[in-house]
Symmetry: C2
Subunit: 487 residues, 2 copies
């Protein structure tokens, strides 16, 4: 573990690229020291002095400041203290015995002060800022929330190195840091290739090292339905690749918990009405039956948007999702809906006639997305959709977040969405599954998420970005290199 972490830290791969999401360009006050230390992502302001302090694994400890609102009863912090102690000292072999510091000053403690009480779950509005003063004999980390404290602990661990004698060393430093964007995500796709919980854990570890804070879990797709629903167990027992390629309620809880204590939100996606073939195996009459020359073809299309049973089912289903996943957001998809099957079905066509949609299937899609958005809102959650749901909107739920994924004219799309008043998440330039011979990372690093035509107010509607690692050609064997190393 610690070793891998070191690999990740010193080989800032493809993804850590999302520096753009964390640090405003050209703002760092003094980065020379930070660069030689490999601080990653680079904090907002870094001031590293040449004066060095030494640390002894036996004497050093993480402590709570007496005035901190989140003290030793805060699990998030206690767990983080344990993790970061291991990250700092655990990688190296050291021996029990008496230590003697021959010269210089020792750093004996990092005292953590949190302004607000121990929080339970991170959210889009969590304050992740922190200030880190490293000075002997006690360093101080101040944060508004435990989430900021986690980011500060990560930075503190990155400051420590072994000098040429092997001595654990840290330079006196002053660091001020806060993220540029509140949403810094990675999409994993467990519908195309199943990923074990262990693999997801490993990804969450790497995300924490790189200060990512959202796991966008595209959990099901056409190919398989690995989510084991409490109310609809047939969905996974019929729709998964096999009964061992399933996320049980306990698996899902473990992923959410592992993410939570690292300050990472888990945002589930259940993509409909397209990308839903696997749903049809365990839920009768959910998908649209397709016709060929007025005869049932035996194949099925997107979710059937004209039946009450569809909405009754989805309402129950999303009710479950809204309780299983604590995050405020539920991603409801809405991308790449294939209209051919709808067009072949006379009942669908009749319904559209009645609604006055004529033959405009985009209107039917919008009708469906709006109903689902309403459903989600009624559960006190906020919907996120892929850009097509916005592009084809008729009625569109206020507050819906739009995720931009099409590389063509993505800046123009950002303009349109933000001009219409909707928040946007950018993914288009960070499709990490699309690989080529050569250095893709250069393009990823050069992206400026707010560089599109619009007013300052509109630009501020960019919540952040997400790197997408779609699973058609990715499984546990190549996920880690593709996310973090591939050069």
């Amino acid at each position: 573990m610690a070793m891998e972490r070191h690999g990740w830290r010193w080989l800032p791969g493809l993804l850590a690229l999302l520096a753009a999401l964390v640090v405003p360009k050209g703002w760092a006050r003094d980065t020379s020291g930070a660069e030689s230390l490999g601080l990653w992502p680079l904090p907002f302001a870094v001031d590293i002095s040449p004066r060095s302090l030494h640390l002894s694994p036996n004497n050093f400890f993480f402590g709570h400041s007496p005035t901190s609102k989140a003290g030793s009863s805060c699990e998030i912090l206690q767990e983080a203290f344990r993790r970061y102690y291991d990250f700092i000292f655990g990688f190296y072999k050291w021996h029990q015995g008496s230590y003697q510091l021959c010269f210089g000053t020792e750093l004996q403690q990092l005292q953590v002060h949190v302004e607000s009480e121990c929080d339970t779950f991170p959210s889009i509005s969590s304050n992740e800022s922190y200030v880190l003063h490293v000075k002997g004999p006690e360093a101080l980390l101040r944060a508004n929330t435990v989430w900021g404290a986690l980011r500060g602990l990560e930075t503190f661990s990155q400051l420590i190195y072994q000098d040429s004698y092997g001595t654990f060393t840290v330079n006196e430093s002053e660091i001020i840091d806060f993220p540029r964007f509140p949403h810094r995500g990675i999409l994993i796709d467990t519908g195309r290739h199943f990923l074990s919980v262990k693999t997801i854990f490993k990804t969450l570890d790497a995300m924490a090292f790189n200060k990512f804070n959202v796991l966008h879990w595209h959990i099901v797709d056409d190919q398989s339905f690995p989510y084991q629903s409490i109310n609809f167990p047939l969905l996974s027992s019929k729709g998964s690749y096999s009964l061992s390629h399933v996320y049980t309620p306990n698996d899902v809880r473990m992923v959410i918990e592992y993410a939570r204590i690292r300050g990472i939100r888990v945002m589930p996606e259940f993509d409909t009405p397209g990308h839903s073939r696997s749903w049809g195996k365990g839920q009768k009459d959910l998908l649209t039956p397709c016709y060929r020359k007025q005869v049932l073809s035996g194949t099925f299309g997107p979710i059937n948007p004209i039946l009450n049973t569809t909405y009754n089912f989805l309402s129950k289903f999303f009710k479950e999702i809204s309780t299983v996943f604590p995050d405020e957001f539920i991603h409801i998809g809405g991308d790449e809906v294939d209209f051919d099957c709808w067009a072949s079905n006379s009942e669908i066509l009749q319904f559209m006639q009645e609604k006055g949609f004529s033959k405009n299937f985009t209107k039917l899609q919008s009708f469906y997305v709006f109903k689902i958005s309403n459903m989600i809102s009624a559960m006190k959650k906020r919907p996120i959709v892929w850009q097509e749901a916005f592009d084809g909107r008729d009625k569109f739920m206020p507050g819906t977040v739009v995720q931009v994924w099409k590389i063509e004219d993505y800046k123009w799309e950002q303009s349109l969405i933000t001009k219409a008043g909707f928040p946007v998440i950018l993914s288009a330039p960070w499709y990490l599954d699309l690989i080529s011979y050569g250095q893709d990372w250069k393009n990823y690093y050069e992206v400026e998420p707010q560089d599109f035509p619009g007013s300052d107010k509109e630009r501020k509607r960019v919540l952040g970005g997400e790197a997408c690692l779609w699973g058609e050609y990715v499984d546990a064997t190549n996920l880690t290199p593709r996310l973090w190393y591939e050069i």
Copy 2:
């Protein structure tokens, strides 16, 4: 280890593709059982009966047939027995205690019979055939050489599975196997990115599982010179990325030994006269000084082919290589020579005038390659060159092997080389560093190495193939997924 091995076995990645090199198309007698067992690569003839035998880790052993010429004093076999016992049983947790076989027959031994004495090093002419009879209570593996025995042990280990009660099981089977081509290689490039010895070991393990038998070690290149020469230590001390990015004589010995006991040849490549920039740092006057408008530009080109000092140095250097590497072949490169620097240098031009080359730099290149080939031959080694050395040949050493790497018209190139009477190794369609979104492996699998215009005799000059994983964008972090998993 065992776990990774299982990963490799059941996910026959990108590379295992070289099936084409091992099994003649359409020759397998009965592959149904073999496919369900995942035998990989598929042996020549497989006959698997439904009758199953059970194995107990406590009772089963590998033994030598009393008439075998390579007995218990043969290190190659003893080491292999140890490895394969672990591969078969080590992956599973099992408990000490008394075992009782409730029903059925037990397989207690695999007796190995080798027709010839324990060999030291594998070679291009090693006989790798074997016959495997699995029948209770004793199975028999017959091979002409220990190298064939190694391939048979690999196949035997692949036959064993756990039944639904966890019992170690093997079906009675008859397998006849021999490779289609004698040269089945993988090229690694430690000049662009250094690979640790541990990483090379891991690659050799995977090669053995897939019955590859040549590690083509492209050890140095323009970018760095990690080979620590005994006679010319400055080459690596000045030409490597750093003093820890070096293969010491002991490292090289360890790689050769690790490969040897797995029946894998290590074929070194020292590519000249191009691709040699790193040589110039530790060896004065070796590279051609380039001129700009009759003035020394300060930059250097290919190795200087007109100086006696060049050949004195290379003669000593290759003498060392010929003793360090036991393999019969030394790859001397000869690809992608940039003529601009030679053309800028008046001494080179004068030399060419004297030799009657006029302004034909290809002739100068050929002059150089022929001298090096002569050198290698005098050391009782055989040279291998990249195709350009053949294409531009003036005089060309008989017996030289030509490696085809350019994807354009590679079949035509194979025709030309074999028609001229030279053996060929095919790499062009297996450049594994060139990746794209999607399933590259389909193309790799469809290659037929003998499908080019020519006579049967000419087609038989194909020694085999090599998958090349060039190191521009590959290091230890993504090497394994790219070689074995990438889909």
